[in-house]
């Protein structure tokens, strides 16, 4: 087990290095950073001076190593556009993204599993059919369309919920501002969280339902079913627990998707998170921000993957780590 974890971490480290190399290559070859850094009106001589000051005239590998050394210290340089340290720019926005992602994740896990279980109990009832049709739409609607439709119906037509932004936020510590503790903040959270969670919800619902249907067919469950109510509950719990392992694993592995869709959601709701920042930076070709965002995302995704692997091993003793 221990050896396995070490190996996983080592692998992730190599992946991170690969990602950083690709990022750095992009940074180097996609447009000359000096053109942007020296300002639009700089002459050739002034540009050369800036190139020298920043060490951009050194060979590729030297620059790559100093890039890595700086990145390890959390220094990704200055944003071309705002001239502000990139990492601070991203960290400032991260709380908003994390709050949105957690809420969406919670919504989709809670509703997805509940509805999945409900629809598996009487798979042919009307309610189950409605849920299944709904889930089919859930996986067939692109996130951006869900967001637009929610705004169109709930914000524009019914005026029930605010269509954009984060509402009132309250500073907790440092850069962490939360929208969880104000009514305004919570109201602002509903539509984007629903939008972001919708696809996941449908996926998890279908997974849970499929798993439950299968588990409930097994002999031991059938026996328990026959033996009476209390036994039924016990076995039901047993079945559910078996189903939950893959469901939670999938939910965790979908973290990358969640991050991707949060970019879309943040853009539609003008949510001041890091996804929105990435999109703006893409439009503005602010490469340092894009590179730092990718590196941080890679770090988050890889860390979560390792945790899930370990968790999976603990939950499911049948897996052996050789």
């Amino acid at each position: 087990m221990f050896a396995y974890i070490v190996r996983r971490i080592a692998q992730s480290f190599i992946v991170l290095l690969a990602v950083s190399l690709i990022c750095f290559a992009i940074f180097q070859f996609m447009g000359d950073p000096v053109l942007t850094l020296a300002g639009r009106y700089a002459t050739q001589a002034q540009q050369d001076q800036v190139r020298k000051t920043l060490g951009l005239d050194r060979p590729f590998y030297t620059q790559y190593f100093s890039f890595i050394a700086n990145a390890i210290r959390g220094d990704f340089g200055l944003s071309y556009v705002t001239q502000v340290p990139v990492l601070r720019l991203i960290f400032e926005r991260l709380p908003a993204s994390i709050e949105l992602a957690i809420t969406a994740m919670f919504l989709s896990l809670f509703l997805g599993i509940t509805l999945g279980v409900v629809s598996s109990l009487k798979p042919h009832s009307l309610g189950s059919r409605v849920i299944m049709t709904g889930s089919l739409f859930g996986i067939s609607l692109p996130t951006f369309l869900v967001g637009i439709l929610l705004i169109l119906v709930l914000a524009v037509s019914l005026r029930a919920l605010p269509p954009f932004g984060r509402g009132r936020v309250i500073k907790v510590i440092g850069n962490w501002r939360t929208g969880f503790v104000t009514i305004d903040g919570l109201r602002h959270l509903i539509l984007p969280a629903l939008t972001l969670g919708m696809y996941q919800l449908a996926v998890l619902l279908r997974l849970t339902r499929g798993g439950m249907l299968e588990a409930l067919q097994e002999d031991y469950t059938r026996t328990a079913w026959a033996k009476g109510l209390s036994q039924r509950i016990v076995m039901f719990k047993h079945a559910l627990r078996n189903v939950l392992i893959p469901v939670v694993t999938i939910a965790g592995l979908q973290m990358g998707e969640l991050i991707a869709f949060s970019i879309v959601t943040e853009s539609i709701f003008q949510w001041p998170g890091s996804g929105n920042l990435l999109l703006t930076s893409i439009y503005e070709t602010d490469h340092p921000v894009i590179v730092a965002y990718v590196m941080i995302t890679a770090l988050i995704v890889l860390t979560i993957n390792i945790f899930i692997d370990i968790l999976y091993g603990i939950l499911n003793p049948k897996i052996s780590y050789d």
Partner: protein, 296 residues
């Protein structure tokens, strides 16, 4: 292969499965519209010569101010919405099928080779695949297109292919590993069949059904992805038709009550994805022996 499909009573099940019929009918309607768009569309919405600003924002024909030939209204450049949708669906189908063909071919080949030869090749490709996978197709395509701008539809296809091929490679590898040690493969090998021959004649056909399911689901995902990328402004360029772009444009008028700019392209997009997902569901149940048994 065909015999196998027939043996699984595909056709008779298909007719009995209502959702599959509904799915394919929807899909066929949209596909027909997309293929014959130049013939049936009232106008070519991307020919600047025939657009007129005078028609801009015409509402659907049954509403006050609606006028022929703008059945579903017109957008702010005076493009007929119905025509733009038909041409947009063309883009959706073109991108969708190009991606599953290219990514599928690459992925199947890589997966097959990796599983067949295992060892270092397998370890390296699967490590790459894992990395790609954890980043999500959407995020990768978004980043690729964000960095390499302005390549038009071919670049959109390329970016999605780069992000997407691992899906096929993993599936292929999984099913090849499943059949590799089967007796008949061993038998073929004992008879002195070459590796290539074994792979193509014996392993490939057995591993194809799960790939078909993946491809079907993936087609819907790619169509959604193209729309999303175009919606965000990193996909199809402004002067090419795309459902995502239409919705992005309509978003500006969301408070102006010009709902037709969003709703109609939205319906078209949902129809494609829903249609293919219904089909994919059916295909999955048919080709997955375990689930199939349960049904009987």
């Amino acid at each position: 292969m065909i015999r196998r499909l027939l043996q699984s009573k595909l056709l008779s099940h298909y007719v009995r499965d209502l959702s599959a019929v509904v799915g394919s009918v929807i899909l066929l309607i949209v596909l027909f519209g997309a293929i014959f768009a130049p013939l049936i569309a009232p106008q070519d919405p991307y020919d600047p010569k025939i657009l007129s600003l005078q028609d801009s924002l015409t509402p659907p024909i049954w509403m006050k101010g609606g006028q022929a030939p703008f059945l579903l209204g017109a957008d702010d450049q005076g493009r007929d919405i119905l025509s733009t949708i038909l041409y947009g669906c063309r883009t959706s189908f073109f991108v969708g099928s190009s991606v599953i063909l290219i990514a599928g071919t690459i992925g199947v080949t890589v997966g097959l080779l990796a599983a067949f030869y295992s060892g270092i090749l397998d370890a390296v490709t699967m490590r790459i695949a894992d990395t790609f996978f954890s980043f999500s197709t959407t995020l990768m395509a978004m980043l690729l297109l964000g960095i390499f701008k302005g390549g038009g539809i071919p670049l959109v296809i390329l970016a999605i292919v780069i992000a997407d091929w691992v899906r096929y490679a993993r599936t292929m590898r999984g099913s090849v590993l499943g059949v590799k040690e089967d007796d008949y493969i061993q038998a073929a090998r004992a008879c002195g069949g070459s590796n290539l021959r074994i792979m193509i004649r014996h392993i490939l056909p057995n591993a194809i059904p799960p790939i078909l399911v993946v491809a079907a689901v993936d087609f819907g995902a790619v169509v959604m992805l193209e729309a999303t990328l175009s919606f965000l402004g990193v996909g199809v360029p402004i002067n090419k038709p795309s459902l995502g772009m239409m919705i992005s444009l309509g978003k500006n008028y969301i408070y102006a009550g010009k709902w037709w700019l969003i709703i109609f392209p939205g319906i078209a997009l949902i129809s494609i994805v829903l249609g293919i997902n219904l089909l994919a569901d059916w295909l999955r149940e048919e080709l997955n022996p375990r689930l199939g048994q349960r049904q009987q």
